[in-house]
């Protein structure tokens, strides 16, 4: 382990401070990047438009401008809302996103906290956002928000299971719950004896990858699974009553979570920060790693948003049926097969 900055020894509180700051900067930035690149630009191109053009060069600062606009807006809390819960809900949602970032490795040493049970932790905290969503839906004292919140609750719980089961396959193959170890397992792996490309788990875990993609689409409440926020049915769902910076919290939360899930998918299935040809033990990996991870995240995010802009949405009961009847059995089958193969080979 070399590299100049890593040689400096810092007190625990100093490390913590730096880590918190990094996460605090990272979350809005990543949300902005995804919002601009995919929500604004790619969606526009797919719809024969150019997207925002005015704010900043080629409109790239549009989302920052929108964020500023949200900050100026009046903060309206409905009269009959449960004020405390109403205010707390966006924070809970954002906090769950915040915690997910903790375990994302961007290089051999670039990780906020390399937990031995990293992926388990990520799955656990990401499901916290359900609580925030339910709180928002309930506290708004709005029928649409309530319906949206309950739909979201049902949906997120139903899709937590395939998500975790899909991850299980990878975990079994890597033999570890730590995100770093999963990356190492892919870097050390080999395809039919050829180790040059390592073994990204997307090759052995195709099924798990698809289940994972479908499940995160549902976790993010994006089309085709966006009934909790369906604007033509429940007019925005749980965040229908939110304005100004509280709405901004939900917005940031949504896109930062999208980024986090894309990062998890990239790490689990595409090899994370690892690049073929770069020695994972060298200092170079700490420089190339974040870039490689970013590129991989963008690929995954492209897929996520491509589905989002193409598909109509399911109905709530169809979605539940899809999860319980297809995704979960498939994921279980995947685990069984992986388990047998790992033992046999």
């Amino acid at each position: 382990m070399s590299g100049l900055i890593f040689a400096i020894e810092l007190a625990y509180w100093q490390q913590t401070l730096i880590k918190v700051l990094v996460a605090a900067v990272l979350i809005p930035t990543t949300a902005l990047i995804l919002g601009i690149v995919f929500l604004f630009k790619m969606m526009s191109w797919m719809q024969s438009r150019m997207g925002p053009q005015e704010a900043g060069p080629r409109g790239l600062l549009q989302l920052a401008a929108d964020g500023l606009k949200f900050l100026q807006k009046e903060d309206i809390i409905p009269d009959r809302a449960d004020r405390f819960v109403f205010k707390a809900a966006p924070v809970v949602v954002l906090a769950s996103t915040f915690l997910t970032y903790v375990i994302l490795p961007a290089g051999p040493d670039l990780v906020i906290e390399n937990l031995p049970t990293g992926i388990f932790f990520a799955m656990a905290v990401s499901s916290l956002s359900v609580v925030g969503v339910l709180m928002a839906g309930w506290a708004s004292s709005n029928k649409y928000a309530l319906m949206g919140g309950l739909r979201a609750g049902g949906q997120l719980i139903a899709y937590e299971l395939p998500l975790i089961l899909a991850v299980m396959g990878v975990v079994i193959q890597a033999g570890s719950l730590s995100m770093q170890d999963i990356v190492w397992a892919q870097a050390d792996g080999s395809m039919f004896g050829f180790g040059g490309l390592g073994l990204p788990f997307v090759i052995t875990q195709v099924l798990a990858f698809f289940i994972f993609m479908a499940a995160i689409q549902a976790e993010l409440t994006q089309p085709p699974f966006d009934m909790p926020v369906a604007e033509s049915e429940v007019v925005g769902g749980f965040h229908v009553e939110y304005t100004g910076f509280r709405f901004l919290f939900f917005f940031l939360g949504e896109f930062a979570t999208a980024f986090a899930f894309a990062a998890i998918a990239a790490t689990l299935f595409l090899g994370g920060w690892w690049v073929p040809g770069v020695d994972p033990n060298s200092a170079l990996a700490n420089v190339v790693g974040p870039i490689a991870l970013f590129v991989k995240i963008m690929v995954v995010a492209f897929l996520i948003f491509w589905f989002r802009f193409t598909y109509p949405r399911f109905r709530e009961d169809q979605l539940q049926r899809f999860a319980w009847k297809y995704l979960i059995p498939l994921a279980l089958a995947n685990i069984t097969i992986t388990g047998i193969l790992v033992v046999v080979l």
């Binding site: 024969s48 029928k143 319906m147 049915e233 109509p312 109905r315 709530e316």
Partner: protein, 391 residues
């Protein structure tokens, strides 16, 4: 102060209307959801009160009237040329088609007939407004179902149709181009060739719609078997147009009872029907109709006869005494005008029969027991224009 009988009646009517709405609100079991008048799915200001049991609809009632503009009454104080400017705004997406039946009724009363050239061009514009209307339906259906991309495609390609309407009439939305005895003006040079191109674009939109929405498994899961309207229910509610054809009734006024003044017989085309009567069938029918419409326009464009565009009519139009009823197959269904004239500058009474009012009145029947999202698909696939409900 004395209260007249009519005032009393009005009071009673208002009370009765209120009572019915309030009754729905004050339910003990379940939840009453008030969709609209400002709800994105009711495109316009239709209000729908749904009594829910969880996500399931127990009762659902549309409450129209939030956009009532009193056109029937306004027509009584407008001269015949002025009336077309008003009725343009009934179904605002296919506005030229609104003018035609009224003008035909007036022509019938005055016993004039538009010259052949005017008739063909009138039919072309009629079909163009149908295209402008239904292509928006294709996009709107996608938006209501959450696939917003097709909405943008529809707007993009609809623009070509609107441009053609504008190039000929001067108005994109409210052409006000149809006149008693012909049309206001002749076509500008190069219009025919450009319209052919626009028809190409529309056909491309249809293909894209088919690939992006109609063929999508999610869309089929959302629409097949949802909102099934059997034939007898459809006819007893007085439904018309594509909604009726989707229940398997082979009925099209353009073919069956085309009033004189439109020249559909010059083109070779087909009336599509679908046996299912569900939301999918209604969508499918409309998609085929757009295709068929482009073919009608293409054929008619090549058979525009030479000649004058206006018959001889007096400058000041006085319609002789009499009554006339003319109905045509408008984009949304059967639209008819019953015009009573007392030989004046203004009509004595105009009764407007617009399609959406009847089409939407089936909603309480068809939404029993469906889920809330299905209410949205059913409304979207029934396809109403609010101005066409309320007038």
């Amino acid at each position: 102060m004395t209260v007249t009988d009519s005032q009393k009646m009005a009071y009673v009517a208002a009370q009765a209307a209120d009572a019915r709405v309030n009754l729905q609100f004050e339910t003990e079991d379940g939840m009453t959801l008030n969709m609209g008048p400002q709800h994105p799915a009711t495109h316009g200001t239709l209000r729908i009160v749904a009594q829910l049991d969880g996500e399931q609809v127990v009762r659902c009632e549309p409450i129209p009237g939030y956009m009532h503009r009193g056109y029937e009454k306004l027509c009584e104080v407008r001269t015949y040329p002025q009336v077309t400017t008003l009725i343009n705004r009934i179904d605002w997406l296919g506005s030229f088609a609104n003018e035609v039946p009224f003008i035909l009724a007036a022509e019938k009363l005055m016993d004039v007939e538009a010259p052949p050239r005017a008739q063909v061009i009138r039919t072309i514009l009629f079909e163009l407004s149908r295209l402008g209307n239904i292509s928006l339906f294709l996009g709107d259906l996608g938006i209501q179902l959450g696939g917003i991309t097709i909405g943008f495609y529809a707007f993009r390609d609809r623009e070509f149709v609107l441009n053609q309407i504008e190039a000929a009439t001067g108005g994109r939305f409210h052409p006000n181009f149809d006149r008693i005895g012909g049309l206001k003006d002749d076509l500008p040079k190069g219009w025919i060739a450009e319209t052919h191109l626009a028809m190409e674009r529309m056909r491309r939109l249809c293909d894209e719609f088919e690939e992006l929405v109609l063929g999508n498994e999610i869309f089929q899961a959302r629409t097949r078997g949802i909102g099934v309207i059997p034939t007898d229910i459809a006819t007893s509610y007085g439904m018309s147009g594509a909604n009726l054809r989707a229940t398997g009734v082979d009925w099209d006024l353009r073919r069956d009872a085309c009033p004189p003044g439109l020249s559909y017989d010059l083109a070779d085309w087909k009336v599509w029907t679908h046996p299912d009567g569900d939301s999918y069938a209604r969508t499918w029918i409309r998609l085929q109709e757009v295709r068929e419409s482009t073919h009608i326009v293409d054929q008619l464009l090549d058979s525009i006869p030479a000649g004058p565009i206006m018959a001889k009519v007096p400058r000041i139009i006085k319609v002789p005494e009499g009554e006339a009823w003319v109905a045509t197959e408008n984009p949304l269904g059967e639209m008819g005008y019953y015009v009573v004239s007392k030989g004046d500058l203004v009509p004595f009474r105009v009764k407007i029969r617009s399609a959406s009012f009847n089409n939407i009145s089936v909603v309480p029947w068809v939404t029993r027991g469906v889920f809330v999202p299905d209410v949205i698909t059913i409304l979207a696939s029934l396809y109403f224009i609010l101005g066409d409900i309320d007038r």
